[in-house]
């Protein structure tokens, strides 16, 4: 499949493209941004539909509440800014005025994770998934590549309630050859396996495949599952996978607290207690550097994922 794959593109580009497409299809779509419409790519919509685009300046709280008001007024608002500000700067607004009243606001944030790079820790969001997962009614989506991000945004239009979709800054290698019709249950088994489950989201899904390759050389059969919908998480697929493999490693460009690792740990300890290793930021903030340097520094590579898998396998069943 690798040969025909499209070229690497950023998930935020998919947001821009899909939003533009949606805007042409649906009159009731409006978009908002907080002075980052070039980075988040919402500007494409803004250029095509200036009357339905509201740049609120650097005022994330106001943006989220305006989105809520627009939703009450019958619109389907797409609101974007960097992930760290979309979730943290306006948490109470999202909580009280979007999640609690269950309004169809789509928060499409860019610059999730540490691959933000040189801007450093203030701009690298490593808690956003955890923050959004804590909110009742909120659907939490982390696409793995351009095509999946495009599908996630297209699909979001018809879904009820509030949605958080996390996009990234850098180009990422393609994982899905074509644009899927939607995310389905949000848990795609990319490769079946029997010794260990690798649950990954975002850019880590591709790395999980690479890690599975490495593990294969050591005669370890790893099942790779791309979890694109972190909430509501597809418990059945997770539990099935764990019942086949008996242990797992999670991988995410996010804190090991509260994100994918937290979600899988909770599912496992409730339904099928097995050992879970969590790869992610080990409760630290990021720093400045090139994206790849940071991924290495914070152990978010296929190599580290394979290593951790080995450790988890050693203590499997202990």
């Amino acid at each position: 499949m690798a040969a025909e794959l499209p070229k690497p593109r950023a998930t935020r580009e998919a947001y821009g493209d899909a939003l533009l497409k949606l805007g042409g299809l649906h009159e009731d779509i409006v978009a908002l941004d907080a002075d980052l419409s070039g980075s988040t790519k919402s500007g494409k919509f803004g250029g095509a539909f200036p009357d339905r685009f509201f740049n609120v300046g650097i005022a994330e709280a106001n943006m989220m509440n305006m989105a809520a008001g627009l939703a009450v007024g019958g619109k389907i608002p797409y609101a974007s800014t960097f992930a760290v500000f979309a979730t943290g700067r306006a948490f109470d607004q999202v909580r009280q005025s979007i999640a609690q009243p269950n309004l169809p606001v789509r928060i499409c944030a860019s610059h999730g994770g540490i691959t933000v790079g040189e801007d450093g820790c203030s701009h690298q969001s490593v808690e956003d998934i955890g923050l959004m997962r804590m909110l009742p009614n909120m659907r939490v989506v982390v696409p793995a590549d351009y095509n999946q991000a495009y599908a996630a945004v297209m699909e979001s239009y018809v879904l009820p309630g509030p949605i958080y979709i996390r996009m990234g800054r850098p180009v990422v290698p393609p994982l899905y050859e074509n644009t899927p019709s939607g995310l389905g249950s949000g848990a795609d088994i990319l490769r079946p396996g029997s010794d260990i489950s690798l649950f990954a989201c975002g850019i880590m899904a591709a790395k999980a495949l690479a890690a599975a390759d490495e593990l294969k050389k050591r005669d370890i059969s790893a099942e790779v599952v791309n979890i694109s919908v972190l909430k509501p998480i597809d418990e059945e697929t997770v539990v099935d996978s764990l019942s086949r493999t008996g242990c797992a490693v999670t991988a995410e460009e996010h804190s090991i607290i509260g994100g994918l690792g937290g979600a899988i740990s909770q599912v496992a300890s409730e339904h099928i207690p097995v050992r879970i290793g969590r790869l992610g930021l080990r409760d630290v903030f990021g720093k400045s550097g090139l994206p790849d340097q940071l991924l290495e520094e914070f152990h978010l590579t296929a190599r580290h994922l394979a290593e951790l898998s080995g450790l988890v396998l050693q203590s499997k069943g202990c």
Partner: protein
């Protein structure tokens, strides 16, 4: 403060001429009814916020019984005016106005804050008919109003959005983000009313964190803004009408008395969020009854 009958006409021409003395009196009675409802509700609940509900009673009465075009039997009528209670803790005043406008039975009022009653401690748009948005966390209502006003403008709907804020609430920075944005978006269909009762929870606003001068602040943020006596029904109505004629957002800075109408609650921070005892409620109601025109019954609805 009052302008001539001609210029006081609403932007859309549907306001009546200058209030007649009878109409003024009628609205005053409605406000008094809301006040009595507030006391009964909060006393029955055993908790709640009488002070800021009473200070807002005249403004809310003016809106619900004179200014707002709404259809209680069709709460989501697209052409309606919207009222947004940004200072959500004044829910009793809003609930009373909604009940007395027949959005739901007035008999519900005494179940305020009770488990499984739709009348939550702070307004919930999905539970109570007529509540446009959920509020309670201060500082968010004006921003939501902007969103609603923009949606209405996009849909070419004629309605106007009226948003009531507290003076303490105006310490929240988001209010000023919203103020800046409403002016930038030239929202003609938006009016902010600030209930300047001079008190917040911890004391006088000027001592805790001075928000004045509010007229100047709104002006510097690009609004048309004017000060009124928030208990003078003629001034309130005139200002609400004036605000619809402005080619942008308009702010009404309404000087009020917290706890207005109940002697022992007036100007007393202690009554911000405390329910009166049965005896206190009785005294409050007696005072308010005294202000009622003798012989007046308890009207339900308009």
């Amino acid at each position: 403060m009052l302008q001539s009958p001609k210029t006081r006409r609403g932007a859309l021409g549907f306001f009546s001429e200058r209030l007649s003395p009878l109409e003024t009196q009628k609205l005053g009675k409605k406000a008094n009814l809301l006040r009595r409802d507030i006391i009964r509700m909060v006393a029955a609940a055993g908790s709640g916020h009488p002070g800021g509900s009473l200070s807002a009673a005249d403004i809310i009465a003016a809106l619900y019984f004179r200014v707002l075009r709404q259809k209680p039997d069709d709460p989501r009528w697209p052409e309606r005016d919207r009222f947004i209670l940004s200072k959500g803790h004044a829910a009793p005043a809003l609930y009373a106005a909604l009940a007395r406008s027949d959005f739901f039975p007035a008999s519900d009022l005494v179940n305020l804050r009770k488990i499984d009653c739709h009348l939550q401690g702070h307004p919930d748009m999905h539970k109570t008919p007529g509540v446009e948005i959920s509020s309670g966390s201060l500082g968010q209502g004006l921003s939501m109003s902007i969103g609603m006003a923009l949606a209405m403008r996009l849909d070419r709907l004629p309605g106007h959005v009226y948003t009531l804020l507290g003076d303490g609430e105006s310490q929240e920075g988001e209010v000023w983000e919203a103020a800046m944005a409403a002016a930038h978006f030239k929202l003609q269909n938006l009016t902010a009313i600030v209930d300047v009762n001079g008190l917040q929870i911890d004391g006088f606003t000027k001592d805790v964190m001075n928000v004045e001068p509010l007229v100047e602040k709104y002006t510097a943020f690009g609004w048309h803004s004017r000060a009124i006596d928030g208990h003078d029904m003629e001034e309130i109505i005139a200002a609400l009408e004036w605000s619809r004629t402005i080619p942008g957002p308009a702010a009404i800075i309404a000087k009020t008395v917290k706890g207005k109408g109940v002697s022992f609650m007036e100007n007393n921070a202690g009554w911000h969020g405390k329910a009166p005892s049965a005896r206190e409620a009785e005294q409050a109601l007696a005072e308010l009854e005294g202000k009622k025109v003798p012989g007046e019954g308890e009207p339900v609805g308009r």
